[in-house]
């Protein structure tokens, strides 16, 4: 895990991240692609939505004697399922806020001049970055108490708060890497010139380095957000109420007919796709813009 990992801190790097490293070579290829792709992608969203509707209708038509078609089932239950999707969004947003609040100082600490602090921050980051998200979720769900007692006050910890903490841990570690990567991507000469202008280390960091980092950190941070949103369905494995948990409830309520499995999970797939795909496109366009400015 050398310094090279820094620039690729976010887990699945978008193509332009690597292409950007050879920007001089690849730049000409990126540009002409932009315009036609975007229109294709808008079409793609429409196609996906239309195909799902068709597929559900088709499944409905091919199940003879079934009490209710998949299409009717979704038509009945979609408000509940979308409410579940909203829980997913809330869990991911809360995890993102907590994870970022802890991850940014941790990332700054990783560039500290103090060796023990730097080592500790590095160790914590690497540990939580390399552990599977599902295991961290299990860890939080099973090892945290259901309530904590502070100064005689009893603070209950319902399962979704534990789930939020479980998702905040990997967010923290990834944000920490994003921050470290961004700080280290600023040329050293800037530190030196700031020093020669009489800035203290802290002033240099907060007034010169970090403001530039925000722009560099935004695309990988959005990438992480999209990933954590998709991971919130893992909470269904430990029984937290969210879209997939509710989907399973709906399946049970409809008599657990196997014919409903594909359409209902397909519906969840479409919901996530329609939410995450625009974010991914937006992230890519931001990345492209920032790379050109360098």
């Amino acid at each position: 895990m050398g310094t090279k990992h820094a620039t690729f801190a976010v887990m699945p790097p978008r193509p332009q991240t690597a292409a950007g490293s050879a920007a001089g070579l690849a730049g000409w290829m990126v540009v002409p692609h932009t315009a036609p792709r975007l229109t294709i992608d808008l079409k793609l969203i429409g196609w996906v939505a239309a195909l799902t509707l068709l597929a559900t209708a088709a499944t409905a038509a091919t199940t003879p004697g079934a009490p209710r078609s998949a299409f009717e089932v979704i038509a009945t239950w979609w408000p509940l399922l979308l409410k579940g999707f909203l829980y997913n969004l809330l869990i991911s947003a809360a995890a993102m806020v907590i994870g970022t609040a802890v991850g940014v100082p941790l990332g700054i600490l990783q560039t500290s001049k103090l060796v023990p602090a730097r080592r500790l921050a590095w160790g914590v980051t690497q540990f939580f970055r390399n552990s599977p998200w599902l295991v961290l979720l299990f860890l939080c769900m099973f090892l945290l108490p259901f309530q904590i007692r502070i100064f005689g006050y009893v603070i209950p910890l319902p399962d979704y708060t534990k789930a939020i903490l479980g998702f905040a841990l990997p967010v923290m570690a990834n944000v920490s890497e994003i921050v470290r990567g961004a700080i280290q991507s600023v040329p050293t000469s800037q530190w030196e010139s700031a020093e020669s202008l009489g800035f203290s280390r802290r002033q240099t960091l907060f007034e010169i380095i970090l403001p530039q980092c925000v722009k560099r950190m935004l695309p990988p941070w959005m990438n992480l957000y999209s990933l954590i949103t998709m991971s919130t369905v893992n909470a269904s494995v430990v029984g937290v109420s969210e879209m997939i948990t509710l989907t399973n409830d709906v399946l049970a309520a409809e008599g657990s007919r196997p014919a409903l499995l594909a359409p209902l999970y397909g519906f969840a797939l479409v919901c996530f796709f329609l939410y995450c795909y625009p974010i991914a496109r937006w992230t890519q366009s931001l990345e492209r813009r920032f790379i050109v400015k360098g």
């Binding site: 887990m11 294709i40 099973f142 991971s231 369905v233 499995l261």
Partner: protein, 252 residues
Amino acid sequence: MIAVADWFRWLYDATGINLTYMYDSFDQARMLKGIWLTLELAVVTIVLSIAIGILGAWLQGSRFGLLRLAVNGFISLFRNTPPLVQIYFFYFGLGYLLPRTLDPTTGAMAPLLTNVQWAIISLSLFAGAFNIEIFRSGIEAVSRSTVEAAESLGFSRWQTYRDVVLPLALRTCLPSLSNNLVNLIKTTNLAYAIAVPEMMYSAKQIWADSTNVTEMMLTVLVFYVAIATLFAWAMTRLERAMRVPGFGQQEG
């Protein structure tokens, strides 16, 4: 071996730290089976996802617009939907639609594909979608003049891809690839959700019997961190060994 087992039994008596898989042969067998299946899942999905990545990136450079559109659609779909729901969709949804076959050993009807096979298929497709993008970015970084030189030497399209473009592209995209594959190793434990008896599953069986949740949980965590770190280290070594001077990402 007996001394080790005795020590862990003593540890349990003295401190309450109950690592059953160190002294109970039944738990040990379960644990080893789980670890073995996790490693197997990791290796098979890594190989398949790289194959999907290489093939997909090659198809993306195709002259047929429809083929390119199909590959792009595949990437967008798999990147922007939750892997867990993909696994559910494949295993429960598509698994139900496939025909059933007669299992000769039991005489009962069995699904065409087992849950382990479905887990491998969906995880490979998921990671493969990311790999296509990664390889494409590497291919785009190969300079045009190199490709033209190969063409002028009489290389066919496939030959150019296999002997010139791919070896160069692979080196450029190794850091991103290693990131994605580490991620894949971590994601294999989602197979737990469809009862694939991998490590997480064995750990859960053990803690259900011995109520040693904390110990088993930490064991699983340490194990995953260890293999992920080991793999990342190996990939960094590979990167260094394969580096072409003056090409691709430079050491900072």
